[in-house]
Symmetry: D2
């Protein structure tokens, strides 16, 4: 089924496999008149591309984006924006190991069950490279949000047993783990060295904060803003849990602690005195920061021998050699940020007609 699109008015459709000719995305519904060039998109792709540190695969990819359509004179025209990244490093290589066996923790078995066969080269469509289209589209969404005074920032909150203890936004881009705490980043690096030595990998947690969000975005029932964010996040490969605001901590909380009191801010607006809700009440943005956390599983590709079966149903052992990221989290940070940007932008665009007075404001002005 057509499951490669997300969004209602701002709608993206991604395509591409790890070892096909390229990866891309079509962004439909971007408002016209937004200044947009490849220079705004490339930095987002650079944050996820391989080879940034010793904890990422060495695959040689520049991941250079090309805008194929949808802009004119440096601005979006309102028509579909097609973005293309050609795959460079798709050397023919011996895939017989993974062609014949199901890698534990990977999508291989699911693909064969669903489709009858699969492109096994580098994981095919279920490769991490699938996220290139998401990130490129996220860069465009972030550009729109910026014009509305909204910023989206994701960072690594923990890697294995190491969690951040301080928050300094300025250091996030300075350590290759994208942690806002230099000391924690150093401890996490040591932990990852240990994992690598043991031919193992580590899980971690990403946090994403959206600031400057206006009130009134999101819908009250199935398209709650948090529901759409949860889908967007869980759709990123390796994410196994999503929480908003206090998240799972609410389980052992009581109402008097979990409720956020309302008060009048200095600018006269209504605001919440605390933010246990994480910026969303009843599915609708409440003006506080939107706070999302995602649990990311350890890289399933590990060099240790693992029990598995062949595609034809014979017991087998598999050892996944080659250089693999010992942790998914750092390169997924920008993917989470992208999905958050895409989702909140769509909520803003779909919600423009929620009141008769807004509809009149747009259509009676002519």
């Amino acid at each position: 089924m057509a499951g490669s699109s997300i969004g209602t008015i701002f709608r993206i459709t991604t395509w591409g496999e790890s070892h096909g000719k390229g990866i891309g995305v079509v962004i439909d519904g971007c408002p016209a008149g937004l200044p947009l060039t490849e220079e705004q998109i490339q930095p987002y792709l650079d944050r996820r591309k391989p080879g940034q540190s010793r904890f990422t695969t060495k695959r040689a990819e520049s991941d250079t984006v090309e805008i194929l359509s949808g802009t004119f004179d440096g601005r979006t025209t309102g028509t579909p924006i097609s973005l293309l990244v050609r795959n460079a490093d798709q050397h023919s290589k011996d895939y017989s190991n993974i062609a014949d066996k199901y890698r534990p923790g990977h999508a291989d078995f699911g693909f064969d069950s669903k489709y009858g066969f699969r492109d096994y080269r580098g994981g095919g469509r279920s490769s991490g490279r699938e996220t290139i289209g998401r990130v490129a589209a996220g860069a465009v969404a972030a550009s729109v949000l910026k014009e509305l005074g909204i910023t989206v920032q994701a960072y690594t909150r923990s890697i294995g047993p190491v969690s951040i203890e301080t928050f300094d936004a300025s250091v996030i881009p300075e350590n290759k783990l994208y942690m806002p705490d230099t000391a924690a980043a150093e401890k996490a690096s040591a932990w990852l060295e240990k994992c690598m030595k043991e031919q193992n990998s580590s899980g971690g947690m990403i946090e994403c904060v959206i600031k400057g969000m206006p009130t009134g975005a999101g819908d009250p029932v199935f398209d709650k803003l948090d529901a759409n964010l949860a889908k967007a996040m869980m759709s990123v490969g390796s994410v196994k849990g999503v929480e908003i605001g206090d998240g799972f901590a609410v389980v052992s909380s009581v109402g008097s602690d979990n409720n956020d009191a309302f008060r009048i801010a200095e600018n006269g607006h209504i605001e919440k005195a605390s933010n246990h809700a994480g910026g969303i009440l009843g599915g609708i943005s409440d003006g506080s920061d939107i706070v999302i956390r995602c649990a990311v599983k350890p890289t399933p590709s590990i060099a240790q021998p693992q029990q598995t079966v062949t595609c034809s149903g014979q017991p087998a052992t598999i050892e996944i050699k080659g250089r693999h990221d010992p942790v998914i989290v750092p390169r997924a940070v920008v993917v989470i940020e992208a999905m958050a940007a895409i989702t909140v932008l769509d909520s803003l665009l779909t919600g423009m007609g929620s009141r008769m007075e807004s509809v009149k404001k747009i259509w009676l002005d002519q």
Copy 2:
């Protein structure tokens, strides 16, 4: 925007407010030929209706469902199934308290931000009664799944600090907290008594297990089965976190522990030797049980005085009197079960044409 529908082929649309004339759902895309009567749906509604125990509101509602369309001679016809539950207990009552003030932890402020005003009677559209349509549709989905050998069961995993320690499915319906552990249910009851005495409320956790799921359902990118489940769960009011399989525990896990080995089952099928993944790999069902957990926040309506503001922006204090459930979890159990059933059924129906051979099987048979 049109946010009151969910699903692609099996698509439900709910409507209704707490103190309007009724609550209902239209189920579109249910396969024809399913035996269906009100007797199959009513038990689901009875599980969520008020007045089942001293921990639930006393509002007098029979929540009797009427099938208005879509069946003939006791079977579904393939056309939309419209289900109606009339509201009975919609007494005129003094709502000035909540009409003028924003209740902390409730959707009131969001609704006013989005729509300019709101139906404040009993929470209007953001009332817990909104879930009646979901539960009724879930009962229909569960009937279809049953014919495919698939069962969905949700239960209370924890209430406040009390978690289950044993699992006995037979006791779930026997305690009004829907816990599979009688001893834990007793402890949880004591905890809730304490909360009520302190004019407070408690959070909790619901777990849902889907058994008998075939392999190959779900999509690899945005419509991953876990992504759609996450949306469905987070769209339930008060759910603040969702996890699949090991969920947030993957954060501190390593690959060798988190990966599930494949092996050959006694029946010759391929199966996983463990289930850290929670039954979904790469967004596609892998044949193991699908395991979902949801964090549910404490009931925001508490009798303690809380700081808030009036709709016109004046500081105020609010005390929410009347009998309110001190915990949302028990009545939400069947809602979670319903949303899970709806979501997996839709994944099965949308995925029928994933292979040319399946398409031929249906259309060349005539």
Copy 3:
């Protein structure tokens, strides 16, 4: 599949069968703050209800609409508006004739092919009563459009060989054929008398004009405004052709005649000097009247003996007795008007964010 909904932001879902408990519609995405009562909707239903003239069936139905949700204090709240019309005249009656045989020109055979069986009572879901939900939703859409200065009016353009020769809007509601030409209406009545005497029925044509439409609504590719109108019109049972503006006359036209010159109107706006395009250029409204015409086939239920087969595949003869409308057109006029209103309103709501400046106008104003 879920084919009972139409629209993206203003989205309606209809349900109900001819001889089930009732017929209804859920309208999702209606802007909040619109004054709405049953009194605005009922006149639309009255225009399509049976028994208005000797050319319509005598089935005794008041078709009284009840608003079940979505309004508060007489205004829409932005939440789903559920509208219900109970079926009154659903007498048990002998349907063995049509239960066992496929009526020529009817949907019976298609339903059995698709679903394996059908509710044959009065045509079930494919009855003309299915349009009640459309008309009720159209009344709501028309109320929104009215606030934007947009009017939608449909009327009968021809019945059998009789076409209108003059246009007087004031006489449309005065003759039961909804023709804007009293003389033509009289000729058409005589033609219908003849058809009835011959146990036959007649086709006809409906024209619909939308005035006051702003420029810039509709999309340039698949969701062209004319494409969505064509779908909406063709989805009405018995419509076999749709045309916009000059329609099929363009086939033998030349460019210099078919192109509409642009000029400056008295109010300084740009306008077209003629309207061969029917108000839509490149899929986008151009500010001229939108003009749509629909070809409606003759009522398939005729009392003459017709050759057919039984459901079990035996040759048979069928005579469809009872009082049937000898022409579908007059009662379909309001259905066409409703579908047009629903479609243009959705185009206005989905198009609100086409420019960055519009997005800022709504979201930076807070």
Copy 4:
């Protein structure tokens, strides 16, 4: 808004402008296991590319398609198929004439109204080149349909005053006007010569026939197969009317002539004795040929001087020089065929779960 996609399960998304870097389409939801190479797609593109005859523009484009994703070992994998055609002939050229003025009959004015500005080079997104993505996707759809024994063929039925009088499928590809009647093609050529001499252009009609269609495809209400076909057809630029079966001729028809009797075919199946309905009854395919006709307006680009206005609202005259097709019909034939193939394939894929027995056939087989 996101209006560049069509279809529910077989869903295509097109992108690209006349003078951008290229044109493309992403096809999502194509069943896995279909043999597919560029050689199957290219012939469809060749049928619409410029320069085939003296009646088409000389723009030098090879319109060579590249499959960027979605196939492996020569077969579809079930993942998105991305198809790219690079624009070759995008010479810088003086567009000041059309940049500043609204061309009558073109989309220019609509685009500016909607988006505030437009890519005026060669019509930008509203160029005929937009159909390249449709045609490429249609070739893929046709390949799937072929495996189900379904063929789709479109041809020119009339050009200006010249209509076909005989039908010989074999001559369709042999005359550059794609007419199934060589004599008519010659007369039409003469007519077009006359138009060109007069700096004018001609309208025409395309007919499309779908053979081998199984019964039971399509939905009974809004997603009637004819409704979706009408949208697909009317979404093709220049189409101003669509009809199914007898179409507009039903207006003056009577029921006894318009109804199609049912009978038993030689193979024992139920069939219609005639086909006034054009293969669709009640929105569902009835097993007869599906017959669609589209009215195509004259090419709006003509060299004659025309009255118009400048973008800044000044009266002006425009003469559109350069070589333009004097008729749109011949090159649109394959576009209509493509849209028909895409639409009926989607109806087949979305309808696979219409009966419980079909659902069991797919999911209980494992």
